[in-house]
């Protein structure tokens, strides 16, 4: 088990390394001067020598392998560099924005699980009935609608028409409701689909038929034998879903002006703020690594046949 965990950590570290190398390479090789991207139209007022000086100070005269080596050397010492846009340490920027994104995703995930599992189990329990058709259609519709659009619709309904909740910003639990529900609904759709098909498969297993024959109640059969056996693939999708959620926060945070990492990422990419982009990518990679480890550990609990060596 310990060997397995160490192996996972090592492979995760290699993945993070590769990811940051790819991001570094892509951003460094993107056409256009990063200093011009950072300054925008303000660049037109700068004399050429001052632009050259700013480029030098930002380390833009280095080649991308040099850049990457510089980043790795800093990261090894725990220094993620300085944001080109704000001039502040990347670690400080991450520390300020991480709690908002964590609050958003950690509220949205249970919501997505509750909605996805309930809809999936209900559709499976009434497979090939009108309820199944209705739920499946709703699931497909939700999956097809961009998260951005869902957010705007919820804003129009609950903030503008009903006036129940603030439309944007942060500050209290009421500000969190709409962004978390938007993200939760968007993430619930794939969960509901996998839950439905896994539960239908599980309910067709011979031991479930035997359980029914023994006269167990329909509910007990559904929950103990159907859902429990379906949870392993569901958990896998939930793990992947959390990763997808991290990309969903980019849109949700923009619509609801939620001050998290997603919006910071957009600002950083727009300004080609390489140190900041790399810091956020590294944080995202570490979060995904942690989630996939937790999912693997949860398999142990759900399925006694699973063994890690």
């Amino acid at each position: 088990m310990v060997a397995y965990l160490l192996g996972r950590l090592a492979s995760g570290a290699v993945a993070a390394l590769l990811l940051t190398a790819v991001v570094n390479g892509l951003l460094s090789l993107t056409p256009g001067d990063p200093m011009v991207a950072l300054l925008g139209p303000a660049v037109r007022n700068l004399p050429a020598e001052q632009l050259a000086r700013l480029r030098r100070e930002a380390g833009l005269d280095r080649s991308w392998p040099q850049h990457y080596a510089h980043f790795l050397a800093g990261a090894w010492r725990g220094d993620l560099g300085v944001s080109r846009r704000s001039g502040r340490p990347v670690a400080v920027e991450l520390r300020e924005r991480l709690p908002a994104t964590a609050a958003l995703t950690l509220t949205a995930l249970p919501l997505a699980l509750a909605l996805g599992l309930t809809a999936g189990v209900a559709a499976a329990a009434h497979a090939r009935t009108w309820l199944d058709t209705l739920l499946s259609a709703a699931i497909v519709a939700v999956a097809a609608v961009p998260v951005y659009w869902t957010g705007l619709l919820l804003l129009l309904a609950f903030s503008l028409a009903l006036g129940w909740l603030p439309s944007s910003g942060s500050g209290g639990w009421r500000h969190l409701v709409l962004p978390a529900v938007t993200l939760g609904i968007a993430s619930a759709a794939p969960l509901a689909r996998i839950t439905r098909s896994s539960v239908i498969d599980a309910l067709a297993e011979p031991h479930v038929v035997a359980a029914r024959a023994r006269g167990l109640s329909r509910r007990r059969v559904l929950v103990r034998h159907g859902l429990r056996n379906a949870l392993v693939p569901v958990l896998t999708v939930a793990g992947i879903d959390l990763g997808r959620m991290l990309s969903g926060v980019v849109f949700v945070e923009a619509v609801f002006a939620w001050p998290g990492l997603g919006r910071l990422m957009v600002d950083a990419i727009t300004a080609r703020d390489l140190p900041l982009v790399q810091g956020i990518v590294l944080a995202g990679a570490l979060a995904m690594l942690a989630v996939s480890l937790l999912v693997d550990l949860a398999y142990l609990r759900l399925d006694p046949r699973v063994r890690y060596r």
Partner: protein, 505 residues
């Protein structure tokens, strides 16, 4: 005991009422981006200046008619053509209590000009050779050669005066002399300011300003409609007219200092022929463009500079729409059927303009392909002379004609801002003369001649003059438009008694 309880209750209620009244005087508005810095010398984009304008003062400022007004400097004079003497107010203190004197102002200007500061606005003082402190409240800016735009340059928000001990910390904990002082900045969320009761211009009526960072236009509009914002800026035509149904919203539009252009690369084998450029100018129906695409929120071009800019030419319809003449000119130049690429940046909201130009030029026999690139790539393409046609805009933030004409069309800017690669020694000479002359009829004549030359040589075709917009809650009154982009003077602004029209839910 009962009396005591009543007194406590009354006191509590009074305190709540006072707090509510104070809160009601907090203006809530949206900022489309998280500011880069609240140090005016290090801020990059205009939206940061929206905040710094309230925190700091400049030496001189622009009034709503574009005239230069007193700021921290009460009076100015030119004892010699190369010397700008400024006399400062005597009753000014920074928010931390430090007095503002000539030494502090000189230190602030030197910081701005020092390349080590990396200030984006350093170019505004490029002509200054040295600064002399004459006495506690008088200083002189000495230029190597006469440079008339210097006073106007001092209206630019990047020249705002910072304390003499300003360092890196100013970016996050700003200290100025402005009508509002800094309270807090929650990164990516909001910036809070409170009224400065000791401001030299008198205490503002507002208790404070809350800027909410809201990148999405749609979300800003919903928040405004939901009564969570008092003020939203810079509305595109659809959003602006879409708010017309709101009885409690006031829509304001005002002429801006910006003009959008179609740039011609005069070194291009086909566009190098002046007849082709003139043909394109006659193919474009600029008044129609302003009226239809912008639904009245743009002005038909009257010359290369927006009408607000000093000495702007006021030629009604300099290139009348005449497709027949355009076709004839193209035929004469042998340019019919030429394929041209039109470059534009993705972030400029210019797609519909580019599509209109594509259609208009097709009508006279030119094939235009539109190439959209992210700003940095677009900039590289146009500055390196690889673009044939390009669309973009220029602002004349200081309202001095030298600001735009010098930056965009002087031959020294080829390879940088002069995307047209226009090199006319006579035009350069006019700019040099204009910059050296005192404001007055002679200077006006020089710049008008320079603009007429632009209309004849046509390195760029003015398409429309921008109109600034904002929507405000009916309870907000007394705000004053400053005749330059991104500035609203809120010193005299107040919120009416009707609950102020915006509230935090």
């Amino acid at each position: 005991m009962t009396t005591c309880r009543t007194i406590v209750l009354l006191a509590g209620s009074w305190a709540l009422l006072l707090a509510a009244a104070a809160n009601a005087q907090v203006l809530i508005t949206a900022l489309p981006v998280n500011p880069t810095s609240l140090d005016p010398h290090r801020a990059i984009e205009g939206y940061s200046f929206m905040v710094t304008n309230q925190l700091y003062d400049t030496l001189v400022r622009l009034g709503d008619d574009g005239a230069i007004e007193a700021g921290l400097a009460l009076a100015w004079s030119r004892p010699e053509p190369t010397v700008l003497r400024l006399e400062l107010r005597r009753d000014v203190r920074f928010h931390d209590g430090q007095p503002l004197d000539a030494a502090a102002v000189a230190a602030s200007l030197r910081r701005l000009a020092d390349p080590a500061t990396g200030a984006r606005g350093g170019f505004l003082l490029a002509a200054v050779d040295h600064i002399d402190v004459i006495d506690d409240y008088t200083l002189e800016l000495v230029t190597a050669a006469p440079f008339s735009p210097l006073l106007a340059n001092l209206t630019f928000p990047a020249t705002a005066i910072v304390p003499p001990d300003a360092g890196e910390a100013l970016a996050r904990t700003p200290v100025g002399t402005g009508p509002f002082r800094f309270v807090s900045w929650r990164d990516g969320d909001s910036v809070e300011l409170a009224a400065n009761p000791d401001h030299w211009g008198g205490a503002p009526a507002l208790a404070g300003i809350r800027y909410r960072v809201m990148p999405e236009r749609a979300a800003q509009l919903i928040a405004f409609r939901a009564g969570e914002l008092h003020l939203i800026h810079d509305l595109p035509p659809d959003a602006y007219h879409g708010l017309a149904d709101r009885a409690d919203a006031v829509l304001v539009s005002y002429p801006s200092d910006r003009t959008s252009y179609l740039g011609f690369n005069v070194e291009h084998p086909v566009l190098g022929d002046q007849r082709v450029r003139h043909a394109i100018a006659h193919a474009v129906d600029a008044p129609l463009l302003a009226e239809t695409l912008f639904r009245g929120l743009a002005l038909a071009p009257t010359g290369p500079l927006a009408p607000l800019v000093r000495y702007a030419l006021q030629e009604p319809d300099p290139y009348p729409h005449d497709p027949l003449r355009a076709r004839a000119l193209l035929r004469e130049a042998g340019a019919e059927g030429t394929r041209l690429t039109l470059d534009l940046a993705t972030d400029g909201d210019l797609d519909s303009v580019a599509q209109y130009l594509q259609a208009a030029l097709r009508d006279v026999g030119l094939v235009v392909e539109i190439a959209r690139h992210e700003f940095a790539v677009h900039y590289e393409i146009v500055t390196s002379g690889r673009a044939a046609l390009s669309v973009g805009f220029w602002g004349s933030d200081t309202l001095d004609p030298d600001f735009m004409l010098g930056a965009a069309l002087h031959s020294r800017e080829i390879g940088a801002n002069n995307a047209s690669r226009y090199a006319q020694p006579a035009f350069d000479a006019l700019l040099a003369r204009g910059a050296a002359l005192e404001d007055g009829p002679e200077r006006a004549a020089v710049y008008r001649e320079a603009q007429r030359r632009v209309l004849v040589d046509l390195p760029l075709l003015p398409l429309y003059h921008h109109v600034g917009t904002y929507a405000k809650s009916a309870s907000l009154e007394g705000e004053r438009i400053v005749a330059s982009s991104f500035q609203l003077d809120l010193r005299g602004a107040r919120l009416g008694a009707d609950g102020a029209g915006a509230s935090e839910r």
